[in-house]
C-alpha cells in the first residue's frame, strides 16, 4: 500500500517534471516562433545566401522552429540588429563582436571558428596586384588603399593598428582611403585598378577570402580572379578567430540547443557544414567573452587614432 503510494507519488513527480520540462520547451517555442540568424557580410549577398542556406535549414531542423537568414549589407546592421534583439544568432568577426559588446548589446559569444588544421587564428594581409612595383607598405605612398568595413577586424582595425606601428597615418600617407564594403569588394577593387592595395582576411595559403573567390570562379571584367594574380606585401600578427553569438536573454535550453547544433554540425550534417566553409574548417568550439577582450582594447585604440585626424 505504502509502496504503491510512494511509487504513485514518484510517478506523479516524474510526470510533473516531464510536464514542466515540455512546458518549458513549449514556452520558448511559443515565444520564439521564428529565430533570425545574421552574419557579417564577408561576401556579396547571393554568395552569403548560398553559403548559409544549408546551415539555416540544419538549424531549423535541430531547433524545431524556422530559422531565417537575414543578409545584412554592412557589419553595423548585424550589431544594431542584435542590440535591438531582432537578430537572435549572429556570426561576427572579432572586431564587430567587440563593437557590439562595447555599445552594450546583451549577447554571449558561445562558439569560435576553427581552421581546418585546428588553428584558431588568422591574419590581416595587404594585397597588391602580382608584379606591381610595391614590395612593402612604404612603397604605396600616394596610392589608393581599400579597407573593408569600419567594423572589419582584418579589413580595418588590425590594419590601422599595424600601420600606426609603422608610423603611417593612412589618410595622409595614401592618396585615397576607402571602405570597399566587403572583403570581396576590396579584392575586386584591386583587380579592376580602383585601389592599388587592399586589406583582407587570410588563414594560410590554402584558405582566405581570395581563395574562396577563386573557388567560386568569380570574374572581374571577364577575367577570373586567381590567387596567383595577387602578391601579399604585409601579413599581420595572428588574430583570434571569429565568434558566433546569441542573445543573452534567450532561455537556457534554447541556448543549449543552438550551441549543441553548432558544435555537432560536423557529424550531424557534414554536407551543410562543407557548404558553409568550403570544407576548409572544423566546427565551432566553445568560447567566451574573455577571448575577445584584447579585441575590445584594439577597437578602443583605433577609436583614439581617428581623433588624431582633427
Amino acid at each position: 500500500m505504502s509502496i504503491t503510494r510512494r511509487s504513485l507519488a514518484g510517478l506523479a513527480a516524474v510526470l510533473a517534471v516531464a510536464a514542466a520540462g515540455s512546458a518549458q520547451a513549449q514556452d520558448w517555442k511559443s515565444k520564439y516562433k521564428e529565430l533570425v540568424l545574421a552574419a557579417v557580410p564577408d561576401e556579396n549577398a547571393s554568395g552569403m545566401t548560398e553559403r548559409y542556406a544549408g546551415f539555416v535549414a540544419y538549424l531549423s531542423k535541430q531547433l524545431g522552429v524556422p530559422v531565417k537568414l537575414r543578409v545584412a549589407n554592412d557589419y553595423a546592421a548585424v550589431i544594431e540588429g542584435q542590440k535591438a534583439g531582432n537578430i537572435h544568432i549572429a556570426q561576427y568577426g572579432p572586431a564587430s563582436y567587440a563593437r557590439a559588446f562595447m555599445i552594450g548589446a546583451k549577447i554571449e559569444p558561445f562558439g569560435m571558428q576553427v581552421n581546418a588544421d585546428g588553428g584558431k587564428g588568422y591574419h590581416a594581409v595587404l594585397y597588391v596586384k602580382a608584379g606591381a612595383p610595391y614590395k612593402k607598405v612604404e612603397d604605396l605612398k600616394g596610392k589608393n588603399l581599400c579597407l573593408v568595413d569600419p567594423n572589419s577586424t582584418s579589413g580595418n582595425n588590425v590594419p590601422r593598428f599595424a600601420m600606426d606601428k609603422m608610423g603611417i597615418d593612412p589618410e595622409k600617407f595614401f592618396g585615397k582611403v576607402v571602405y570597399a564594403g566587403s572583403h570581396e569588394n576590396a579584392v575586386i577593387a584591386v583587380a579592376q585598378g580602383t585601389c592599388d592595395a587592399a586589406w583582407n582576411w587570410w588563414n594560410d595559403a590554402d584558405e582566405s577570402n581570395l581563395k574562396r573567390m577563386e573557388r567560386k570562379k568569380m570574374e572581374v571584367a571577364g577575367k577570373p580572379i586567381m590567387y596567383s594574380d595577387f602578391d601579399i606585401v604585409f601579413t599581420s600578427d595572428k588574430i583570434v578567430n571569429s565568434p558566433i553569438a546569441y542573445l543573452s536573454d534567450l532561455p537556457a535550453d534554447l541556448k543549449k540547443a543552438i550551441s549543441d547544433a553548432c558544435f555537432n554540425i560536423g557529424t550531424n550534417d557534414p554536407e551543410a557544414f562543407k557548404k558553409l566553409t568550403d570544407g576548409k574548417a572544423q566546427p565551432w568550439v566553445p568560447t567566451s567573452h574573455k577571448e575577445y577582450q584584447p579585441i575590445v582594447e584594439l577597437n578602443e585604440f583605433v577609436d583614439k587614432l581617428k581623433k588624431k585626424k582633427s
Partner: protein, 298 residues
C-alpha cells in the same frame, strides 16, 4: 415688383429628390469602392513588403532610443556638457568636418553646374511645343527619364570604376541625375511659354536655334535659375551620400561614424550639414523670389 420664389409642391419635387439621392448613392458607392481598393492595395503592399505593424509598434521605441543615443558622448555624458575643446568633446573634429563639408559643397556645386548645362541644352528638344521633330521629343524625354531614374549612387559606382576614386565620379553622377531632373522641369516651363514670339521669329526666317535663343530663352531663364538653385540644395544632400562610395566629402566620415556607433559624431556631423543647408536655403531664397516675381512682371 418684387420677385418671389415659388416653391414647387412636394409631389413635383419628389422625383428630383429621388434622382439626386440616387446620384449621391452611386457617388458614395464609387468612393467606398475606391477607399476599399486603396485599403486592399495598402494591405497587399504591406504583406508583400513584409511590413509588420505589430513589430512596428513594439519597436518604435527603438527608433527614439537610437535618436536619444545620438546626444550622448562616448563617456556617457550629454553632448551639451562638453561641446568643444579636447579629444572627447562633441565637436572635437569641427574644423576637420568643416573642411569635408566644403569638399561636399564643391562636388554639389560642380554637379549642379553640369546638370544645368545638360538640362538647358536638352529641355527645348523635350518640350512638345518647341521640339524640332517628334522623334527628338521621344528620344530626349526617354533619355532624361533614364538620367533621373538610375540612382546617383549607381552612377557613382560605375564612374568610380572608370575614373578611379575621388570627387570626379561624384560630380558626374550628380551631374547626370541633375540633367534628368532639371531637363524635365525646364521642358515643362518651356511648354508654358507664350508662343507668339516664337512664331514671330520663325516666320521671319529665324533658324530653330535662333528662335530658341531669342524667343524662348528670355521667357524661361529666370525660372530655370530658380529651379537650379533649388536643385543645388538637394544636391548638397546627394553629395553627402556620395562619400559612401569613396567619392570624397563628408559622407565617408558620416558613414564611418554611423557604422562604428560614434553616436555624438553622427549628431555633430548631421547638425553641421543641417546648418549648412539652412544657410544655403536662406541665401538662395531671396534670389529665387526676386527671380520669380521678375517673371511675374514680365
Amino acid at each position: 415688383m418684387a420677385r418671389s420664389i415659388t416653391i414647387p409642391t412636394d409631389d413635383r419635387l419628389k422625383p428630383h429628390l429621388a434622382a439626386y439621392a440616387s446620384i449621391e448613392r452611386s457617388r458614395r458607392l464609387t468612393t467606398l469602392i475606391g477607399v476599399a481598393l486603396l485599403a486592399g492595395a495598402t494591405v497587399l503592399a504591406g504583406w508583400m513588403g513584409e511590413v509588420n505593424l505589430e513589430l512596428f509598434w513594439s519597436r518604435i521605441g527603438e527608433f527614439g532610443n537610437y535618436i536619444g543615443r545620438l546626444f550622448f558622448l562616448s563617456n556617457g555624458k550629454a553632448v551639451i556638457t562638453d561641446v568643444y575643446g579636447g579629444e572627447d568633446s562633441w565637436f572635437w573634429g569641427f574644423f576637420y568636418w568643416l573642411k569635408k563639408i566644403g569638399e561636399t559643397l564643391v562636388i554639389a556645386y560642380l554637379g549642379t553646374v553640369l546638370g544645368f548645362i545638360g538640362g538647358f541644352l536638352l529641355c527645348f528638344f523635350a518640350a512638345a511645343n518647341l521640339t524640332p521633330a517628334p522623334w527628338m521629343l521621344f528620344v530626349t524625354r526617354r533619355y532624361l527619364e533614364f538620367c533621373r531614374t538610375v540612382p546617383e549612387i549607381v552612377f557613382a559606382l560605375i564612374f568610380v570604376v572608370a575614373f578611379g576614386l575621388g570627387p570626379i565620379p561624384g560630380v558626374l553622377a550628380i551631374g547626370i541625375h541633375t540633367t534628368g531632373a532639371l531637363g524635365k522641369l525646364f521642358s515643362e516651363v518651356a511648354e508654358n511659354i507664350d508662343m507668339k514670339p516664337v512664331e514671330g521669329l520663325a516666320s521671319t526666317g529665324g533658324s530653330w536655334a535662333e528662335t530658341m535663343r531669342f524667343a524662348a530663352v528670355p521667357q524661361v531663364l529666370s525660372n530655370f535659375v530658380s529651379y537650379t538653385l533649388l536643385r543645388f540644395e538637394i544636391n548638397v544632400r546627394s553629395a553627402a551620400i556620395m562619400g559612401f562610395v569613396g567619392a570624397g566629402g563628408i559622407g565617408q566620415d558620416l558613414i564611418e561614424s554611423i557604422r562604428k556607433f560614434y553616436y555624438s559624431d553622427v549628431s555633430a556631423i548631421l547638425l553641421l550639414l543641417v546648418i549648412t543647408v539652412i544657410i544655403i536655403d536662406m541665401a538662395t531664397e531671396r534670389v529665387r523670389h526676386s527671380l520669380i516675381s521678375h517673371e511675374g512682371r514680365a
